[in-house]
């Protein structure tokens, strides 16, 4: 069983590393995200949202739905901890 697990891990790791080679270079200005989305945000963020911090504008405005999901995840984690750990009088 350990040998099967080792081979599964090895093959998955090999595939991941093999796929990483095809990725664009770090900071490559011609890679797709740097050629389409980033210039759009950098040029228009002040005009559209009046926010100097591009990270905040992308986080809370352009990707607001994603951040809403994040805060719901945190809220759910807190409520689940409350439900699991808190003692009620009947136990």
């Amino acid at each position: 069983m350990k040998i099967i697990a080792f081979f599964a891990t090895f093959i998955t790791g090999f595939l991941l590393i093999y796929a990483t080679v095809d990725m664009p270079d770090w900071g490559d200005p011609n890679s797709p995200p740097n050629a389409h989305v980033s210039p759009r945000y950098i040029e228009k963020v002040i005009l559209e949202t009046a926010t100097p911090n591009i990270v905040t504008a992308v986080l809370a405005d352009y990707r607001g739905y994603d951040t809403f999901g994040e805060s719901v995840v945190i809220f759910t984690a807190g409520i689940i901890c409350l439900m699991l750990l808190r003692r009620t009088s009947d136990d």
Binding site: A50, T51, N53, I74, C81, R86, R87
Partner: protein, 166 residues
Amino acid sequence: MINRYENVVIETVSRLLVPALQLFGLYVIAHGHGSPGGGFQGGCILAASFILMVIAYDIRVAKSHMSENLNTILCCLGVFIYGGIGLLCVILGGNFLDYSVLHKILPVDPVKARYMGILGVEIGVGMAVMAVMISIFLNIASRGEHEGHENSVSVSAGVSDRRNNE
């Protein structure tokens, strides 16, 4: 349960540090537009100030400043503010979380309305993150005991007895 261990140095330093930490946390939330920061980071700093209070004093002193009921209400209210701003945009005729339609109820132009929408959302996230961090910490540190619990003393004694027997 974290019991109080009297130490003048630790208590004095944390008494000086807690207001400064809370002020810095509010600054990080409010100034997320212009500098690194935002709701998540500021909420964590606010929660850290409360956790410092629990460590330097004990849980009862800390709970007297911030009760668990209030904490749970803040936790829900933070997410409610975020979702409420999103739904308010829908009610005013835009898309979900499209803050530019907020200019109909705010005395600003649509561009500045998006700025204000981001600020409101960050405040909601900050409240939720702070309350959740405090809630998880309190529930783990106090083994789930709380002020409304009837036999918290006997339950905690039972747990420690079992520990001793093992």
